[in-house]
């Protein structure tokens, strides 16, 4: 194995982690502020991807599609919050899970009804086509580097928003004591709608960015949602910082596991066998990591202070 390949795989891991962070940040924000488990987060990811693909097909511009994905996912999130989620804050988690699971089905079948059964086409914008040469003569797609940059910007933006602005202060206050902030005259209902729309917009952005790499199809959100849950459990539920570290850890572990485990096993058994066993072990790896972390730190790496 060359350093170039190792560097490329490390970048792949970070890029996967960044994607997961965009999903996990919204999920953990919503849980942290409102105590709500939102299974329909993956549907908002799908909404973002479909909005981007549709607008990009109409206008020929990926960038307009990207704006549409943010707008549509945020709008869908706000509508869902006003119509359904609002009634669930005082209910227990089982009711929330049931209601948001129903939302998944409604979103999936609704999307199929609107867009049909076949996957949509979405390509990366001309500006980000192509590859760059990395040290050691490896090359790496520009688009994936751009995703890493977007993720870093979003992480920084969230840090500033939550740490430095009035809205962020209210979000933090909401996290630590919901009743008190309401008693102090903050319009908690609007705050909840805003937070939900923000989390949804992040999911929509992730969906649009990934849509250009993958297939834009109904049900695309659910596999990512499972990984996003692993991320927030590892990071500490409700912690944005935890989501960032958790996402990078999961992304890098998964990528390197897929790459190194079969090669390692090939030292002992024949390559075909090693590929099969290594592949199976690699798909379990992140769950093993999660189990180990939870055994040592039951509340995740960075549990929020109040929880």
């Amino acid at each position: 194995m060359t350093t170039a390949l190792a560097l490329e795989q490390l970048l792949n891991g970070i890029q996967l982690g960044v994607m997961l962070f965009l999903m996990a940040a919204g999920l953990t924000l919503i849980f942290g502020v409102m105590g709500l488990i939102n299974l329909a987060h993956g549907s908002l990811y799908m909404v973002g991807a479909f909005a981007c693909a549709t607008v990009a097909a109409w206008t020929g511009s990926f960038w307009l599609g990207l704006i549409a994905s943010l707008a549509c996912a945020a709008a869908a999130g706000a509508i869902v919050e006003l119509a359904v989620i609002r009634r669930l804050y005082d209910r227990d988690h089982l009711d929330q899970v049931l209601a948001t699971f129903a939302l998944i089905l409604i979103f999936s079948e609704g999307t199929r009804w609107l867009f049909g059964d076949f996957p949509l086409y979405l390509d990366i914008p001309a500006l980000l086509q192509g590859v760059v040469t990395l040290p050691g003569d490896a090359s790496y797609p520009v688009y994936r580097l751009a995703i890493i940059a977007v993720g870093a910007l979003i992480a920084l933006g969230l840090y500033l928003l939550i740490g430095k602005t009035r809205l962020g202060m209210r979000i933090r206050a909401g996290e630590s004591d919901r009743e008190m902030i309401g008693a102090l005259g903050v319009d908690i209902r609007t705050l909840y709608t805003l937070v939900f729309a923000l989390g949804s917009a992040l999911a929509g952005l992730a969906g649009a960015l990934v849509g250009a790499l993958q297939s834009v199809q109904v049900g695309m959100g659910e596999p990512v949602l499972i990984l996003a849950f692993v991320v927030i459990v590892i990071g500490g539920i409700g912690s944005i910082k935890g989501a960032l570290y958790g996402a990078l850890l999961v992304g890098v572990t998964d990528t390197l596991g897929r790459f190194l485990l079969p090669q390692f096993l090939a030292l002992f058994v024949d390559p075909s066998e090693a590929g099969m066993i290594g592949g199976a072990m690699a798909s379990m790896l992140i769950y093993v990591v999660m189990a180990v972390i939870l055994a040592v730190k039951p509340r995740g790496l960075f549990p929020p202070a109040h929880a």
Binding site: D117, S215, M220, R258
Partner: protein, 378 residues
């Protein structure tokens, strides 16, 4: 005299009914109409119904239900269709794992199953059954064809498939004919959407050709990411990797990809041209290989139903075995294990009038059966 007349009338009417066979036949179609794999199920259903409609046979009814690509749901639907709908023939399942869950139970209850796609090795060899027919292929066939093509053309192949039974069958089938050096053999997670790590390995492996078996959304993701990665190694796969249901979503990234198939839209035969025109007229899109397979499955059932009663299992089976149909694929007959013997072609993805489609390049196999038929004792 009166008695004789009566006997003669009876004999006549018996003879007449023997010709017309107005025996009702009920077909239960279980296929995937929701979720990520819905495109395949929709093409299966549409191809099947086209043949039923064209037959004009009013005695055949079809009940269709969605299995959502879930084995447990498929089993429930099959039980319901057999017990309360009282169907005579089951068909339509796209996925091998669902088929394995349904077929043993269905044939044990004396029902025919005519597969439109899934064809696991387990049902082609020792596990073959008189009531189980496959109108599509045996799962290994298209992979074997690519192995044969790669053996002639490339020296060092990198091969990749998802880690599940059909994925393993795929690479086994490929290696049955490709005996050259392997630059890598990788199994990925089922439903994996990011292949950056695997593509990096391909680039570093020094392979001169890549064979991938990634059905549905997985293949779309892989081909887009592969094109974006700037790796220039030729890619090939079995026909369904570049079938009409996924090509629009992959886009130009698929251009030039080689694949194997029993049929392509450019087949220059009257039967194929008529099928293509009829399908486009009915549904306003190009059919995929799944539609052709389902079309032939329906034709097989219709042809047998015209000559024998499904209540007489042996007679019905013999009629099915004759494969008295006009297949868009061309030559089509059944092997001893009731799987097809057919020609397999090399195809290439091209753009024709702005639409991505497959063009036939050459014939790889003539009258190709499968490796399991010799173990089938029926």
């Amino acid at each position: 005299m009166k008695k004789m007349l009566a006997a003669a009338t009876m004999a006549l009417s018996l003879g007449a009914s023997g010709l017309a066979m107005a025996e009702p036949l009920k077909i239960g179609m279980i296929t995937t109409l929701s979720g990520g794999g819905a495109g395949l199920g929709v093409d299966t259903r549409d191809g099947f119904m086209l043949a039923i409609k064209q037959s004009g046979n009013k005695d055949i009814t079809v009940v269709t239900e969605d299995d959502a690509q879930k084995p447990e749901l498929a089993v429930q639907i099959a039980d319901k269709m057999i017990q309360s709908d009282q169907v005579d023939v089951l068909t339509g399942i796209v996925w091998s794992n669902l088929l394995m869950a349904v077929v043993p139970g269905a044939v044990a209850q004396g029902k025919f199953y005519v597969s439109t796609n899934a064809a696991p090795a387990a049902l082609a060899g020792q596990g073959c059954n008189k009531l189980y027919f496959n109108a599509a292929y045996q799962n290994d066939n298209l992979h074997e064809a690519m192995g044969e093509y790669a053996a002639k053309t490339y020296k060092k192949m990198f091969i990749l498939a998802p880690n599940y039974p059909a994925g393993k069958d795929s690479l086994t089938g490929f290696k049955r004919y490709y005996k050259g050096e392997l630059a890598g053999e990788v199994y990925t997670k089922v439903g994996q959407t990011d292949y950056a790590a695997e593509i990096a390995q391909m680039r570093a492996s020094g392979a001169d050709g890549i064979f991938v078996f990634l059905p549905g959304g997985m293949g779309i993701s892989f081909m887009k990411q592969f094109a974006q990665s700037g790796v220039k190694i030729p890619v090939m796969g079995p026909g369904f990797s570049f079938s009409q249901d996924v090509l629009p979503a992959i886009g130009d990234a698929a251009l030039g990809a080689k694949a194997s198939g029993q049929w392509a839209p450019d087949f220059d035969t009257d039967v194929s041209k008529k099928f293509l025109a009829d399908f486009q007229k009915e549904y306003n899109r190009l059919p995929s290989i799944y539609a052709v397979q389902a079309y032939d499955a329906a034709q097989l059932i219709v042809s047998a139903a015209g000559k024998a009663s499904v209540k007489d299992a042996d007679a019905f089976r013999n009629e099915l075995l004759k494969a008295d149909i006009q297949s868009p694929r061309g030559n089509f007959k059944f092997n001893t294990n009731q799987h097809p013997i057919q020609d397999i072609y090399l195809t290439e993805v091209v753009k024709k009038d702005g639409v991505l489609t497959n063009k036939t390049v050459e014939k790889i196999f003539t009258d190709h059966g499968d490796a399991y038929a010799k173990d089938c004792k029926i």
